[in-house]
């Protein structure tokens, strides 16, 4: 029954549809529809969540077709009360585990046959308040030779909090369980509570500050879609936003390469990659006044149009950066002391990344082509295609080299944008109020530097936001880190953690 118009509605990235056009299926049909789609390799679920609507709970599922740029949307309605039992999709399609865990935690739905129905983040409005972050049900293994190591939430470095529970046999990790939720700030709730557009865009920039451009791009695209603003079709604005997004990607990737060198005690790489990050984020600061692009993207247009002076600085920046970056990365990735720590360390297989529904870099380092710029293009990626870089070894080395390759690809992409952007007519100015289409649903997918960001919004009869859902790529990818550590020495945890560099606050919301 795949693609049956009665079971799903096909939309495109950044499209708005009426709520009434979303097929409302009984759960068994909802289950069969999802299962039939997810059984095919070119479909993957980009969001699945619950929202309380008129005394019942609606489950909305968005499954992307990676071949024809569409997203199939379908829904189901159940009673909004704790203890409802539903057959788990995860039992058949493991990648659904995080979505079902979230629905279970938020609304008390019990997914039968779910293999790992554990809390996600202990949100303030969870269904079961007697569960607290200190009562998390850790997996355990019994045995005379087995010991456990608990690390966090507060870590030795300057990083965010998370708890890592290792079950080890000697120095070998048998199992790693990652418990998050410490950073929960109630973001989705605040999107509804704060009514001003500027408050909401500020929230989007703070979902995870290292992806201020990525998450805010998803937010402004949703507002432009729901408000049907001309900015949706503005070519120059799309180019400027892609430029900002690629700068963000390069800045973080080069910073992560520095940190990866630090973790294997390669001082030169640590210092040089660290220094190379500075001019990249300083360029973002020169453009918009903030090194992380906060205050940069706005609904409906831009306060910081690109100009000739910025373009010439960009040329100057990359002339210098590319030479120096090439020099240090060739040296690093040929250095035996670095390679002996990177190669074959923390391997995740293609089978595993497919199974867990990994996105972004974590998918691409293990041979899976998954990149929203490529499959569901937005901004400039609709007219200037981006072809993702993919590696196959799935180890720390692949995560390092993929960063290098993505930096090179982004640099080339920026060159193309630079050559074309100035000939386009001026981009519009932002708006600070927008009338959203009433009783509508919109979805926005953005490929941030970590991977697939998905924001969904639903409006009520008055065109006010009734629900806002954020999905950060780390929701899928944290399990990748846990799998990487299996049969890996516990002392290799820091380098593995850094090579993934996943978001705590983006996951915790």
């Amino acid at each position: 029954m795949i693609g049956n118009a009665e079971n799903t509605i096909k939309i495109r990235n950044n499209e708005t549809i009426s709520l009434h056009n979303i097929p409302l299926l009984p759960y068994h049909k909802f289950y069969d529809t999802a299962s039939a789609l997810l059984g095919q390799a070119h479909y993957h679920c980009v969001n699945y969540y619950g929202f309380p609507y008129k005394n019942s709970l609606h489950l909305i599922c968005a499954v992307a077709n990676d071949h024809d740029r569409t997203i199939e949307i379908f829904s189901c309605q159940i009673a909004n009360e704790s203890g409802i039992h539903l057959e788990s999709l995860t039992a058949k399609h493991y990648a659904m585990h995080c979505y079902e865990r979230e629905i279970a935690e938020n609304f008390g739905v019990v997914f039968t046959n779910h293999p790992w129905l554990k809390p996600i983040r202990y949100p303030h409005d969870r269904a079961n308040k007697s569960d607290t972050i200190n009562t998390y049900p850790f997996y355990s293994i019994a045995g005379d030779q087995i010991h456990e190591v608990g690390v966090g939430p507060v870590h030795a470095g300057v990083i965010e909090p998370g708890h890592f529970r290792f079950i080890c046999n000697g120095e070998m990790v048998l199992h790693l369980e990652i418990q998050l939720g410490w950073q929960h700030r109630g973001i989705e709730h605040l999107f509804l509570k704060k009514k001003k557009l500027l408050e909401r865009t500020t929230l989007a920039e703070n979902i995870t500050g290292d992806t201020a451009v990525g998450h805010n791009l998803a937010f402004v695209s949703l507002m432009e879609s729901l408000g049907n603003l001309p900015a949706r079709y503005d070519k120059k604005l799309g180019y400027e936003r892609a430029l900002a997004l690629e700068m963000e990607r390069i800045g973080i990737h080069v910073g992560d390469l520095s940190a990866m060198c630090t973790d294997v005690a390669f001082q030169l790489g640590s210092a040089v990659f660290g220094a190379l990050r500075t001019p990249i984020i300083n360029y973002t600061q020169l453009w918009c006044g903030n090194r992380f692009g906060k205050g940069f993207l706005r609904t409906g247009g831009t306060n910081y149009p690109i100009n000739e002076k910025l373009i010439s600085k960009l040329q100057f920046l990359f002339d210098d950066f590319t030479t120096k970056f090439n020099e240090i990365s060739v040296y690093t990735f040929n250095l035996p002391s670095v390679l002996s720590r990177f190669e074959g360390c923390g391997t995740v297989t293609l089978k595993q990344v497919k199974l867990i529904g990994a996105v972004g870099m974590v998918a691409r380092m293990a041979g899976m082509v998954r990149d929203i710029r490529h499959t569901h293009p937005f901004a400039s990626y609709t007219d200037i295609p981006y072809k993702p870089a993919v590696l196959t070894t799935g180890d720390v080395y692949a995560r390092g080299v993929l960063r290098k390759m993505e930096i090179e690809k982004s640099t080339l992409y920026i060159q193309t944008l630079k050559q074309n952007v100035m000939s386009l007519p001026e981009s519009p100015k932002p708006v600070y109020k927008v009338n959203l289409a009433p009783e509508s649903f919109a979805i926005s997918l953005v490929e941030g530097w970590r991977g697939e960001i998905c924001h969904c919004a639903i409006t009520d009869e008055d065109g006010e936001l009734a629900h806002y859902k954020v999905k950060e790529p780390s929701l899928h990818n944290w399990l990748g880190l846990a799998l990487a550590l299996r049969n890996t020495e516990i002392s290799d945890f820091p380098i593995n953690n850094k090579s993934f560099d996943l978001s705590y606050c983006g996951y915790d919301l």
Binding site: H124, W182, K193, L198, S503
Partner: protein
């Protein structure tokens, strides 16, 4: 070996020789200045996403400001963000910029605890705790130790354990789920237990103020030694703030 020397040579001198004199690009949003031009103050205040603009007379509270610059874009004659990055202060009141006042933000030497000045002039070890931080401040604190800003040259370092720390650097609005861990970390520190709040969210809650998922009661119990505003902070704001605080 030669390859290493070549890379060294191509990198040249990366460090900022004098961080106290370093200036930032014009467009950087640091200390704002408010002119005496007459405007509808309520309208300006209404525009701010974090209620950082106070009226009659008009003031901007840098402890609440997200430095988005939208007020300047809407009222360029009234508000101008300068590129002055030295905006750290040790009293909450000093973070409030008043209409017509163009003087720098000051660290009140008399309000600095005596033991800080006597013990930490040449060495200060800090423990960082992110409690709902969005990772941008954490990145910038990391950047303080890179080859450009090179904070270690002043004896200021981040250490791995609260047992080794003279003070705690808090980022984030303090999530309820982190409140206990923050308290345990603080309790594990030896005296004098400096508290440094980094970023707008740590100082006031920022855009998360009023969220049911944050718990800021930790801050009701202790005196804060340094406030470092920003969203995120600039490394120069942090380093200069600390250097001024510990200066003999």
């Amino acid at each position: 070996m030669f390859e290493t020397f070549k890379i060294w040579q191509h990198q040249g001198k990366q460090f900022i020789p004098d961080v106290t004199k370093a200036t930032l690009t014009e467009i950087f949003r640091g200390r704002p200045e408010i002119s005496t031009e007459s405007v509808n103050e309520a309208e300006v205040a209404e525009l701010c996403p974090t209620s950082a603009i106070l009226t009659n007379p008009m003031r901007i509270d840098l402890g609440r400001c997200t430095f988005c610059g939208e007020c300047e874009l809407a009222y360029p004659k009234k508000i101008k963000f300068t590129n002055d990055h030295k905006i750290a202060a040790n009293t909450r009141e000093a973070l409030i910029v008043k209409e017509g006042d163009t003087s720098p933000i000051k660290i009140d030497a008399n309000a600095v605890r005596k033991e800080i000045k006597s013990f930490f002039g040449n060495s200060l070890k800090l423990r960082q705790v992110s409690a709902g931080g969005d990772s941008a401040n954490e990145w910038e604190l990391g950047a303080c130790s890179n080859v450009n800003f090179d904070m270690s040259r002043f004896g200021i370092d981040f250490v791995a354990s609260p047992r080794q720390a003279d003070g705690i650097v808090i980022t984030g609005a303090i999530s309820t789920n982190m409140a206990e861990a923050l308290q345990i970390t603080y309790d594990a520190m030896p005296f004098p237990k400096l508290i440094i709040l980094v970023g707008t969210e740590a100082i006031s809650g920022g855009i998360f103020e009023g969220s049911p998922a944050i718990d800021r009661s930790f801050l009701d119990k202790y005196k804060v030694d340094l406030y470092v505003p920003g969203n995120p902070i600039h490394p120069l704001t942090f380093i200069n703030g600390i250097l001024t605080m510990i200066a003999k």
